[in-house]
Each structure stands twice: as C-alpha cells, then as structure tokens.
Symmetry: C3
C-alpha cells in the first residue's frame, strides 16, 4: 500500500517507500502515476516541481517527464534530450480506496496479488472511518507482530479494549487461501469494548493477514450462548508498508458507512482505534525497536509462546517470499547479463 | 555504581549501564533486584511494566518474572512457559547509600572489590549533600582525567575555586592499597575557595581514586605554617559509570551531616560543586570528547605533562584490569565450550 | 577561503574547514595565525581559551602556544614542556578582504594559486555588500554545480531573477588561464532583474570559476542592439569551502562601493542575493544532497544536458587536481619514509 486514495489529491504527493523516495500524482484523465521522486539530471526531488496536463516538470532546470517517465521536453539550451533520460516508474493501481504499488520490476507486477480489501466500505457514509495514518518509528514486522498476537490487548489495552477475563484465550491459527487467520474465541468472559463492555458475553477477535502487510480484524460480542454472528460493520483494517528498515507507514480504519442514527457507534470505534494505536501500541512497538536496535529477530532468540503462532507463521511466510523473490531476481539477472549488453 | 540508593524508590527504575538497559527495583522484604530491562519474549522494556509483590510483569503480553529472573507465570493461552525463559540478572549490593552493580557473570562478582565509600555520611543531616547526578556527553575516562588532574582548577575554575597562586603545585602520586592518590600541597598561596578565600594560607587538594570509577577529594586550608588537619566534613565524592562509550553517569556529593549552625557551609559546598560541574567542567569534557570523536586516546599521541601522572596511572590500571578480565573471560569460554553443549 | 577578513575580529575565531577544526586569530602586530583548534595535551578546543599578546592559552590546563604553534609556557607543576609539544599550523594569507588558508603541508603552500578576487571592492562604501555568509547542508560540489549552470535561474528563480524568455540561451564555455568561463548571452529577451526588469533587452550572465571554489558573476542588460558594456559595479562573488563532506561554507557578496545616490541599487542587489540563496537555491541544493545521500556523483549516472558543460568541466578539473595532489602526497611520503625515521 502506497497511500489511501484520499491522500493523493490534485497536487504532487511524495512518500518514501521501502527506502525509495516515490512521487505519486493524478493526470486529468484520472490515471495515477508513480515514479522515483528524483530527476535523472541533477537528482532534484520532482515533488518540489509542478504538475502539468501531461506529466511533471522538474523544479531545478525544467526537464519535463510524461506519464511513462520519458523526458519529452528540455526547455534550456537548444532543447537536446540525451537518449535514455527517463524516470524509474512503478506500477500503481487504485482499488478499494487504496493505491497499491509494486516497487519491483514492472514486468513482474501481478495485480492478482493485491490483497482483497473489498470489505473497505464505499466512500460517502456520514461517519466514514477510512483514511487514517500514523508514522511509526519501528521495523514493519514489529507492527505485524503486534497485530497478529492479540493477547497483548489484555495488557497494553487493559481497561480500554481488554480485561483479565479475556487473557486465557488460546489462539487458533489456520491458513485459508494462503492467508493467516488467528482466531481468539473468548466464551464466558466480560465484554472488553463496544456495547457489551463490562457485561457477561461470548466475544471474539479474529485477525486475518494477507501478504504482505494487510490485516483485517473481525470482532464482536454476543450474550453468553447466543450465536456469534459477525456484524458486517465490525471490521477494522490495518495495513503496513516499510518506509525504511526502522520506520513504518501504518494505515488503518474501520467499516462501515454508518447512517445518522449510528453516529455514536462509528465515532466510538474511530476514537478507540486512534487512541489505542497512538498512546498504547506505538510507544511499545517503538520501544521494542529501540531495544532490538536493528538486530535480526531470530538472532535475539525470542522465547516463543503459544499465542505467537500466527505472528511467527507470517514472519516465516514473508521470509520465504523474500527468498523466492531474491532467487527470481538473481535468475533474471543471469538471463539478462547472458543475452544483452548492460544498459542504465 | 548503578545509582544512589535514594534514586530507587517504590517503582521500577531504568538506567542504561555499560550500554545495557538495566531495570532495578526493590521487593517488599527490602531485597534489591537488577536485571536486563528487556523481556526475553518480545523484547519489551520491563520498566514500562508493573512491579508485583514478588517480581515484575511485562507490559506487553503479561509474562511475570520472579526475583531470580525466572518466568513464573504466563497469563495467556494455556499458560505454557518455554524452558529457559529467564532474564539476564545482575548482582547488585546496597552499601554506603549507593547501589553497586556487577555487570559481568554473576559467578565472578566479588563484593570485596566494592570501593570503600564509608566516608559518605549517614542519611538525615539537616543539609545532606549526597545524591547529586549529572549526565555527561563524554567518555567516562575523560571525566576521570579531569578529576585526577586538579591543576585544571586554576584555569577552568579560576576565580571560583582556583587562582594563579595555586598553579605551580606539582602533583605527588602514591598508590596506597591499589588506589591512586594524587596530592596537591600548595603552601604559601592565596585561598581559592571556602572560608580562607583570598587569604594567605597553606592549602591542599588530594584526590584518591578507587577502581573502577570512585574518586574522593580531601581538601582544606589553614593559616600559613599551621598544621594541615583534614576537616572530617571536607570530603567530596565523585563516582562515574559509563552509560555508553560516549556518555557517562556522573554521581557526586560531599560530606557531611551539618547541623543547623553550619547550614551556610553545607550550602556553599553544594552550590559550588553543582555550579563548577555544570557550567565549567562538563562543557570542557564534552568539547574534548567531540574533538576526539571516538578515537583511541593513545592513538592521538597526547603530550604528557608532569601533572598528568595520576590520570595516566589510573588509565594504565584500568587498561590492565580490562585485559585481565578479557583474558579470564576467554579462558572461561574455552573451558565451557570444551565441557558443555552450547545453551542460550 | 577560510573567512571574510571582517569575520575575524579581536577574539578567537573557530571554524571547521575540510573536516578539521581550525582556530584563527590576529596578533597585535597584525599577523593572522591559523592552527588546529585542539590542544595537543588533552585535546581541548583552544578557541574556548584566551588570546594573549603573543599567542593563545589553552582553557583546560593553561598551556600557551606562540604564533609558530610552539608551546612556550606550562604554568603547572615545575613548568616542564615535553619535546614536540606544538600545534598543527596552517598557512593563512589576507588578500582582497578575504582570509585564504592552505590546509595541506605548509611546504606545499603556493600563494600564486590564490584566486584573483581583486574585483572585490575596497572597504568603506556607503552600502558595502561584502561579507555575507550562509551555512549549507550539502556537499560543496553541489553548490558549484548550481552556480556554474545558470539555466536554473529561469526555474528556481522564475519571476525574481529569471523568466521564460531567457530559457533557450545555450551556454558557451571557455577556459581562459585555467579558469572556466560560462557565458549566457540572451539577446532579444525580457529583462529578468535589475533596472531592465520586464523590458525588452539584450542581457548576459557570465560566471567565471577559479580553482578551487571561487565564482565571479558578470551580469548586465542593455536595450536591444546596444553595445553590451559590463557595468563595473555589476559583479557578484561566490566562494565555497567544504566544512565537511556534507556541509559547505558559502561566502557571497557583490560590488561595488556605491555612493549615497545609488543606495537603492546596492540595496536591491544585496537583498536579491540573500533572498535567492536562502529561499530558492539552498533548499534545492540541500534536497539534492539528501537524495544523493553521500553517493558518488558519477555512480548515479546523471543525464548530461548541454548547459551542464561548465559545471562538468569544473568537476573534471577538481578531480584532476585531487588526483595530482594525492599522487604528490604519496611520492612525498615515499621519500620521507625512505630517508627519515617516523616522527609525530
């Protein structure tokens, strides 16, 4: 995820992703363009420049780049443009109110790998809770660890989201369709949040991870013994993207499109989310990152608890994806260097 | 030295020592506990957690650790605790209103090596000047260098503690009982501070270093030719502990337990100490650290003056202690790896 | 360039040059002294000390160093001074209101290499615009790149110094006497700044670089077809010196000694200069440095435009100078190590 659709308005939008400065902008026909935010001439940030009808103009010496990244105008001197003056482009797709970017080779982009965020509600509800963002000073995987082991709710969020009665739940982990699903079923407990707060109930929090960084939470509470039907509005969305190795973009929100009579409910969820992340989760995640100080997770030989199961599976899946991507890249590089002369 | 006893109250006390985050707390029976301030599960700072009647509870997922560092409760899931889930513990001893810590292997701790700070007065005087602390942005040895060569007093502290008449004193260095004692005897000079300020007198400043970082100053002034008797209240205490390679904890204070009629005297000494360190010594020590920028002291080939004698001896002794400790560690490591399988 | 003459007054002046902390001061007989700003005893910054009639005294333990850098007084102990206690000295020369320093071996200093800044006006005009300084968070060569390719004027400074009519000028580069001269002749354009602003005119901006970092701008505008005579007061001066690899001292000003009736003209130029550098050039140069993040310029394979010609020639000349200086240093080191025992 590069950004919420709503973050990219009429202007030039700049964000560092996976260590790379990226520029994102919309053309008049609605196309969204993503490129490296650096002019190939003298390395100026194009985001300090000017959007045109057909592309972007560098602020430093005026080179213009079209939607494909090709330099199509040099206003200085006799207008000569050296061959190969082009931007590094990134495939970007808008879906479910989110801009999804592929930071690798365009040829390897595969839209079928975009996670299914169709539960994100349509825009326009009276109390829309989509589009939240926080910057986290921690490695991205620590944010995923946090979300995939919800037993932390009863400690970090004790009294706001969780309580002692909810602690003994043991996580059940499944892997439907390559996702990782962590189910916490807490029958006969005291409601931790929402309308059942403080009342006897059966409650649940199920977190579903989709590669690489999307996590959807299903949650609910019913009177003891009642059928645990998932409310179609009780979903929370959490998507993480590395800014750098030690900093993370954290996108979040929740469904749904509440009508006027449900304003209080939407408001409650939004405020609980923001308060929890800002004042309870993030200080902890950032403190852990500081303690790790860039060391490899496994080299620190963590004690593994039962409820780590889901987070560990996600880590293992991501490690496997990285290994496979790296192997493919190396194989590709071998083919290229065998058949072609080197180019920029 | 980890802390003044008075710094560790009822709560959890966190301080980085020798680069390691350390947690210190008191149990109801008075025992003081010191451990690494990092949960072995997900590396949360335990100091963000909660002290219990018998130990400390991690703030993140609720693991509890007893006074020996053993994890004795996992409130989540079915309560399973993986074998070997324990904290790194440090030996800590309270003596002379100070908490002394041993950061190495507990088996190599030796209380007889704790320096003798019995001159630190008992608590409870009307004008107690024990418990002062400053954070210094410099390598610990630069603070020791400063204190072991008091000829700097007549330059950095000219007009507040020293003066020109005191400059020509040559340091006399002895090594009683493995200590390093630097004596500055300044007969026929003008009083630099205290009641004899500005008057003809014989005065002295003797600094006694005890490994690794304690320095006690004896000082006084008498009319010319009178017997130079050390006033039992005229001692100043300086103890340094590395926080990191480039930052230092500096603990200081002075005797004694002054009664009401001597309030002005105690107050004078305290204020002179704090003002001198804060506004005169520390800016210089930090400027020197910046100039050295992490380089080895000897590699910078310092010019060695007569009055460096004591500081150099301390540096040589500390270098020897480090070499011996390292050799012992390596010998121990050799024995362990020959006789046992590796463990965490 | 170490400093404007006017920057070094009666006291001790400290500035980091080429990564080295340098102290500069004036003796009563007018001689200017430059030395490493670090005492060879305990590495204190001498600039925190005291200027005397004959040299400088260290603030820490009082060592005194004469104008040649020799330690000629140790006020402590018996006054012994270890052989070889001296400062690293730098050759420094005052010329054209500027202090020029040679940071290499004194034996290799060559005053004939000081660039000719004789166009800098004498002191004392009513509206003197000499002595301006800005600190830039970017590699020094990026500042030179900026000044040697003035086609940026019509983008970064569009509306204040440049405009669209001036864009198509192609730079003409010559190398008179080892200098690099970049001429932008813009006939039949609209005046970009100065008295001809907004009027049809023929205008020019010629930048002349002298090694290593001095750049003099000649500029002017005349009615179309008139003879383009350079106004003797229309020069702007730009001199850069590395503070570190990523930070630069930027000195600037302009001629001339305007009389009272021309006050508005002098004022206009000064204000335009300061505003342009502070709010338009430097933010861009610093953004480029951030994008490069310490990488080698050529390794980033910049697209080379026609108007880069002058900046590229300067880069090539500086690279050649560095290679030659390095080779000479190595040859010298070889001779020294073959004929002499090593000394400090």
């Amino acid at each position: 995820m590069a950004a919420w659709s709503s973050e990219v308005g009429d202007g030039l939008f700049a964000r560092r992703l996976l260590g790379v400065p990226v520029l994102i902008y919309r053309l008049p026909d609605g196309e969204v363009v993503a490129c490296r935010d650096m002019c190939p001439h003298r390395f100026a940030p194009l985001s300090m420049g000017r959007k045109t009808e057909t592309g972007v103009q560098c602020p430093y010496h005026g080179l213009h780049f079209d939607r494909t990244g090709r330099c199509d105008h040099n206003p200085t001197g006799k207008g000569h443009i050296p061959a190969g003056t082009h931007l590094r482009m990134f495939r970007i797709v808008e879906r479910h109110r989110i801009l999804w970017i592929w930071m690798g080779d365009a040829g390897r982009a595969d839209e079928s790998l975009i996670p299914d965020l169709s539960l994100v509600p349509e825009e326009g509800g009276a109390h829309d809770n989509i589009g939240n963002y926080l910057h986290v000073k921690a490695n991205c995987l620590l944010e995923i660890d946090n979300l995939m082991d919800l037993s932390h709710v009863n400690f970090i969020h004790e009294g706001t989201l969780g309580n002692e009665s909810m602690r003994s739940a043991e996580v059940k982990v499944t892997e439907p369709d390559g996702k990782v699903r962590a189910e916490l079923w807490m029958p006969g407990t005291t409601g931790g949040f929402g309308p059942m707060t403080g009342q006897p109930c059966d409650q649940w929090m199920n977190m579903v991870w989709m590669a690489p960084g999307s996590m959807i939470l299903e949650f609910g509470a019913v009177p003891p013994g009642a059928e645990p039907v998932q409310d179609p509005y009780c979903y929370a969305f959490h998507i993480v993207t590395p800014e750098t190795d030690r900093t993370t973009h954290f996108f979040f929100g929740s469904s749904g499109t509440f009508d006027e009579t449900e304003a209080a409910k939407a408001q409650f969820i939004r405020e609980a989310q923001i308060r929890a992340f800002l004042t309870e989760d993030n200080p902890m995640i950032e403190a852990v990152d500081e303690r790790m100080d860039g060391a490899d997770f496994w080299s620190m030989r963590p004690a593994i608890l039962t409820n780590d199961k889901a987070a560990i599976r996600v880590r293992r899946k991501l490690e496997k994806m990285c290994r496979e991507e790296e192997a493919a890249r190396r194989a590709e590089a071998g083919r290229v260097s065998a058949s072609e002369p080197a180019t920029q």
